[in-house]
């Protein structure tokens, strides 16, 4: 629980809060990017190099861009005239509190199971991750590959559909 952790945590939480509280949708997307960066820094702080850099590469480099493209292509970049908050916000608060308490219970349970002394996180090299992916987790890897291929083909078909309709 060093000072670095507090700063990074503040960055991540601040980014996430800004992502839901700001009026301009593109500002929300950029704040979400800051939240992603905060999470990546948390990974790096735990010496999980591969996870941290993959987080930056995938989330900031691809997902954030996807989000802003989606906002732009659906003309959501105009500031909404009525308020940002929906009418039924107390219900949302209840659901958020429920999810939070669930996660907090799970984290605290694991803290009770492990010893309280600070254990050094095991250094996981990229080699070990690679071996695990090809060795033990090869089935999830192949299924994810199939899923990505399906998504890619679907995107191409959706984009090509206009040509069919235009003919």
């Amino acid at each position: 629980m060093s000072i670095v952790f507090y700063i990074v945590a503040a960055l991540a939480v601040g980014g996430a809060l800004a992502a839901v509280l700001l009026k301009n949708t593109v500002h929300c997307a950029l704040a979400l990017t800051i939240a992603f960066a905060g999470i990546a820094l948390l990974f790096l702080q735990l010496d999980a190099q591969f996870a941290g850099f993959a987080q930056i590469l995938v989330y900031i480099g691809a997902v954030a861009i996807l989000v802003v493209f989606a906002i732009l292509l659906t003309r959501g970049s105009e500031t909404p005239k009525d308020g940002v908050y929906g009418r039924k916000w107390p219900l949302g608060l209840v659901i958020a509190a429920a999810v939070f308490s669930d996660l907090a219970w799970a984290v605290l349970q694991s803290a009770r199971v492990l010893p309280h002394e600070a254990i050094s996180a095991p250094t996981v090299t990229v080699l070990q991750i690679g071996n695990a992916l090809i060795g033990r987790y090869v089935l999830p890897l192949e299924i994810i590959a199939l899923l990505l291929t399906a998504a890619l083909i679907g995107a191409v078909i959706v984009a090509m559909h206009e040509k069919e309709a235009g003919k």
Binding site: N24, V26, H27, L30, T33, Q49, F50, F53, A54, I56, L57, I60, G61, A62, A64, I65, V68, F69, L72, S77, T125, V126, L127, K163, G166
Partner: protein
């Protein structure tokens, strides 16, 4: 320190200098001071190289176009970058009224920050990497992916249709060429067995019969380098892939609304990115800081690294002076239908190279496969080369 041979000392001169400066500080501060000194060195050296690159570009392009470049400021125009810098600093900073001020300000800053982060993992000489990371290459590509976000921020915050259009095109181009860039580097990672850039250079720093084991001298390395070079040119929005910033196409694309220092920041970001990706290309394929012949090993390693980077810059400038700009759809077709299949094939060829064992067979087989694939894909791609009547997709 004095008993080491002078060649070694010259090779490690910057490390020794840094240790000497840091030794004046108390022990607690030494680690921090060492890092700060390294960072300051990078921030000082690479913008200086940027100034040299800009000057080289203007004079080089001029000579290629049968004219002199700038030659009034200083002898042979050598002080032109200083004049350019002063001009950028003193120009009025215009922000359009309807622009988003925060994002408009942050976009170039974000670009410059992210581009400089990439230098943290480049091995610029023996023992001269800023941060020795196990997953150094992945860090580099993570930073490269973040530059696209800054381009988008610049285009959107200007509230200008041309800027937005330019930004969309630029981001589409950069995403499309990100995949071949990574794939061609993955072949190198496969053969070396590590993502760490120091290990990649160490694997290439061996010599047989006086010739180095650089990856470019292997069939898959040569193809990989060519594909990496194409993808790198597209990533940094250089000619012939500079449609997003082409002056005759979209005014200036995503940095239309930027003036004065912010424009200089974008310019700096682009050229520093070019230097950075040249450094990565040199590390992955050209052996980083290793010398081309074993007998030339006495020349300091950092001279070889920077020499290779400047050579790559010269090649970039040469390409810019020669090739016309590619149109957006030509660019995208090229990426997805030509470069990407070839990079995937290159991965397979690299695997074949590894498992065929030493000997002349693997040279012949790998070269033959790559050559046949290249010629075949070229023929297929140029099949519709005849100029017929144009078919328009949307205009009826």
């Amino acid at each position: 320190m004095i008993d080491k041979p002078i060649v070694d000392q010259l090779d490690q001169v910057f490390i020794l200098l840094e240790r000497w400066i840091v030794s004046f500080l108390p022990a607690g501060w030494q680690a921090v001071a060492s890092v700060v000194l390294n960072v300051v060195a990078i921030i000082a050296v690479f913008p200086a190289l940027f100034a040299i690159a800009v000057l080289l570009e203007r004079k080089g392009l001029g000579r290629m176009q049968n004219r002199l470049g700038p030659n009034r400021v200083g002898p042979f125009g050598l002080f032109q970058p200083i004049a350019d810098g002063l001009k950028s600093l003193t120009k009025e900073d215009i922000v359009p009224i309807s622009a988003d001020p925060v994002v408009h300000f942050l976009a170039p800053v974000f670009l410059v920050v992210v581009v400089f982060m990439g230098y943290a993992v480049l091995p610029m000489g023996r023992n001269m990497t800023l941060v020795k990371m196990d997953a150094g290459l992945l860090f580099y590509f993570a930073m490269g992916a973040s530059t696209e976000l800054s381009v988008f921020m610049a285009g959107w915050s200007s509230r200008n249709k041309y800027s937005l259009l330019g930004a969309m095109r630029a981001v589409a181009q950069m995403i499309s060429y990100e995949v071949p860039l990574l794939m061609s580097s993955v072949a190198v990672v496969m053969i070396t067995g590590s993502l760490s850039l120091e290990k990649i250079v160490a694997a290439q720093n061996q010599y047989s019969y006086g010739l180095p084991h650089w990856y470019i001298f292997t069939p898959w390395g040569f193809a990989g380098f060519a594909l990496f070079a194409v993808a790198a040119t597209a990533e940094t929005n250089r000619s012939p892939f500079d449609l997003p910033e082409g002056e005759s196409e979209l005014v200036a694309g995503y940095f239309t609304e930027y003036s004065g220092f912010k424009f200089a920041e974008f310019f700096l970001g682009e050229y520093v990115g070019m230097l950075s990706i040249s450094g990565l290309g040199a590390t992955l394929f050209l052996g980083g800081w290793s010398a081309p012949l074993a007998i030339l090993g006495w020349v300091p390693s950092w001279i070889w690294f920077f020499g290779k980077v400047m050579l790559s810059i010269c090649v970039f400038i040469w390409l810019r002076g020669t090739l016309p700009r590619l149109r957006q759809d030509q660019l995208m077709n090229f990426a997805w239908k030509f470069v990407l299949p070839l990079t995937l094939l290159n991965l397979m060829v690299a695997a074949m190279w590894r498992f065929l064992g030493e000997g002349w067979e693997r040279w012949v087989i790998c070269s033959a496969v790559l050559l046949i694939a290249y010629v075949a894909m070229g023929r297929i791609g140029m099949r519709h080369g005849h100029i017929g009547t144009r078919k328009y997709r949307y205009a009826e």
